[in-house]
Amino acid sequence: MALDSKVPQGPIKDKWTDYKNHIDLVNPANKRNIDVIVVGTGLAGGSACATLAELGYNVKAFAYQDSPRRAHSIAAQGGINAAKNYQGDGDSTYRLFYDTVKGGDYRSREANVYRLAEVSANIIDQCVAQGVPFARDYGGLLDNRSFGGVLVSRTFYAKGQTGQQLLLGAYSAMNRQIARGKIEMFNRHEMLDVVIVDGKARGIIARNLITGEIERHSAHAVVIGSGGYGNVYFLSTNAMGSNATAAWKIHKKGAYFANPCYTQIHPTCIPRSGDYQSKLTLMSESLRNDGRIWVPKNMEDVLAIREGKKKPTDLSEDERDYYLERRYPAFGNLVPRDVASRAAKERCDAGYGVNATGEAVYLDFASAITRYGTEQAKIQNITNPSDAKIYELGQKIVEAKYGNLFQMYEKIVDQNPYETPMMIYPAVHYTMGGVWVDYNLMTTIPGCYCIGEANFSDHGANRLGASALMQGLADGYFVLPYTIGDYLADDIRTGKISTDLPEFEAAEKEVTDRIDFFINNNGTKSVDYFHKKLGKVMWDKVGMSRNETGLKEAMAEIKAIREEFWKDVKVPGSKDEMNPELEKAGRVADFLELGELFAKDALMRAESCGGHFREESAEEDGPQKGEAKRDDENFAYVAAWEYKGEPADAVLHKEELEFNDIELKQRSYK
């Protein structure tokens, strides 16, 4: 099947408006006869549920957690971008569009990104109206901060808990519709397959995670908003339950999976401390507004610090290497995430890592505390303030901005980051790749949509900070409600879809068979054993830098782990009860397939772009020496994979990317 992105004709700034003016609408009386299933209740799924229900559709929403409020969007910290230009610093829709395409290393679809930038301002209006308590300045107007990869301040925030506040906003909009009966909420349910009738997505098979009951649910369209697949690495900043199962199931039933190798390794996470570690914790990118990243210049100091003979605060300015400021003077500590992560890896690989594992760099707030303290002393008319006074005043400001993050750090690491610099190291955080969708956010299965992090569309090969929240809410509140209506307009006479159809029976049998297999397998190794093994291969060979040999090995190794898993996995308990091990088994089984496709995609893409760094493709000389080298001639396309059984047999379909409004250039942050 040829990929048709269905991008409307016309100038980029008119596409979305023209599109909305010409789609088919469903009248309010008919919407009452149409059912929509939404899987996942994070920012994308939750906002879609609320808006679709307000429009009049009957929504059935599914979440594996005990409440929609717990989706992992809640953990997003730093902020949400919007082209409001409240700061008057030159921001505009075009500039947000441009920054996002450039930040994504020219591997995203222009029309989708422009639409995202266009609706971004509406999101802020909407959220304020919902009572989201964004940070404000003393005049009562909304405050902004800066994020990586841009030269304006366009990020709106609510302390270090912006994702939480936005999700609770979407949750409140859902609650209003749940109360009206327009959303039927299925908490503690997991989607285990999609049901396709006459070529269209018409329902799902779900497991009630409390009783173990397998349920059939029908609808006229199915929306997947189940998040990313970062947990394929075992260790990531994702929640423990975050999984790719919903996305992978639709892939196996015909939805193409795009650019799986585009993964974001976030530069500022708390370094790992031991083998028992279950997850990694992010320290918001917003910290790079005020924190300066460094390692010691001299190896003697590195060793002294590791042995505990010296403290980082003992080192003078001259003895420190602020490597981001050194290498990227224009953007400094605010380079995009992929660039910052690779730079940290480069220093640590060279031996300059500052903790016992050699995998940590410093994020230092001392200059910011002094700067804010001096400013406060001035404001408060304190003449000749002592250093201690300045520090005290400055610390208050830093605490007001990032207090919760500093507290989180202290609880985990047992060090006070006001007194000694934080230690950070890159960790898997977000997946730009995902289910392929067209301009309508529809997958290659008619009637099956994919939104938020689960799809591939807006961030190209690298996502800029504070853009995930923007995309999730844009898809759910403002894009999908239009595009899905155009499709559902054909369904006004369809009537209820029966769950007695043979297609439902067949899908249910597939699900039940797999569950029975796990319960009866009686192997010798736990699910986590396999998950950790997979994660290690992914991190070592498909991590921050990749090469042909490593990727080929990874494919073979993952296949071997998968085979061992199916022979030897052990799942205790029964299927008719709450059984977390059984849930994990299903998710890891899917990761074991996805991981191999991931490596295959990375192997095929013999260029470096964004978060995907191929060692064979780096600049060899000149001012950009060592930086990622893109190959636009051969790789300016989206790689969409069609499922054919074994991941190694997946078939590649290319969507060529056209750049009419932005010139393709090497991305420079120097």
């Binding site: 717990r70 953990a75 509406n122 909407q126 009572g131 964004f134 302390k159 808990q161 506040q165 609880k411």
Partner: protein, 246 residues
């Protein structure tokens, strides 16, 4: 360190539960409490026993899913944290740790340490929102200035993660801190004024219906709240309720 764990095991809502003893060895002080539970569960799986079911997800203190009652305290001995942020350095070698589910009539046990907190959701359905459609055709976000003080206070209230530690800690199993926080967030913002009276009345009515107890101003909830939600919010809710009834 080596530890003895006394853990509440209960097959399902209708079964009778009991405390069961387990031993774990070589626990690092840098582990989180839940990582220690992972070690126990891995041990149980490998020996053919059923692992202990417990709720957890983000493991960074924000989703509100984890919910254990450890040595008689919701989220354990540390302050300002959830169970997933509790670290083993708070314990000593040889300790015996008692681990129970959050207990309240309105939080029935589902299995082992997992409880049903959907009563919190139902209170939110009763009024925890502003009735504005998500069309995006609202006024500009800066059209209504909100004082920094009010915005900050609303944020402090809104930071509640809905974990239920307040209820589990309260001798009356009262949900007033949880409800007070939501009522306060909206009461402090101009956007929340239009429906203020209905909101507080409906949410309080639902809270009572769910079987949560009343507040007797002990203040234990504030102490155990991982997000430090202030008792002021209960006072504000009472004031709002009073205002609404006049």
């Amino acid at each position: 360190m080596n530890l003895t764990l006394k853990i509440w095991r209960q097959k399902d809502t209708s079964s009778k539960g009991q405390m069961v003893d387990y031993k774990v060895t070589e626990i690092s002080e840098h582990m989180s409490f839940l990582e220690m539970m992972d070690v126990l569960n891995e041990q149980l799986v490998n020996s053919g026993e059923e692992p202990v079911a417990f709720d957890h997800d983000c493991r960074e203190g924000i989703c509100g899913m984890c919910s254990m009652y450890i040595n008689g305290e919701a989220h354990g001995p540390d302050r300002g944290i959830t169970t997933c942020q509790l670290h083993m350095r708070m314990f000593n070698d040889g300790d015996t740790i008692t681990i129970e589910p959050f207990r309240a009539a309105a939080f029935p046990v589902i299995k082992d340490l997992v409880v049903d907190r959907t009563s919190f959701d139902r209170i939110q359905h009763a009024g925890g929102y502003i009735s504005v459609n998500t069309s995006g055709n609202t006024q500009d976000a800066n059209a209504i200035p909100i004082s920094k003080h009010a915005a900050d206070e609303a944020m402090d209230a809104a930071t509640c993660i809905g974990c239920g530690a307040c209820v589990a800690t309260c001798k009356n199993s009262s949900a007033m801190l949880f409800v007070g926080a939501k009522v306060s967030q909206y009461a402090l913002l101009p956007q929340g004024q239009v429906e203020a009276a209905d909101r507080v009345q409906n949410m309080v009515a639902q809270m009572d219906l769910e079987g949560f107890g009343n507040c007797t101003n002990t203040g234990a909830c504030e102490v155990e709240c991982p997000k430090g939600i202030s008792l002021d919010n209960i006072a504000r809710m009472n004031r709002e309720l009073m205002k609404a009834s006049i």
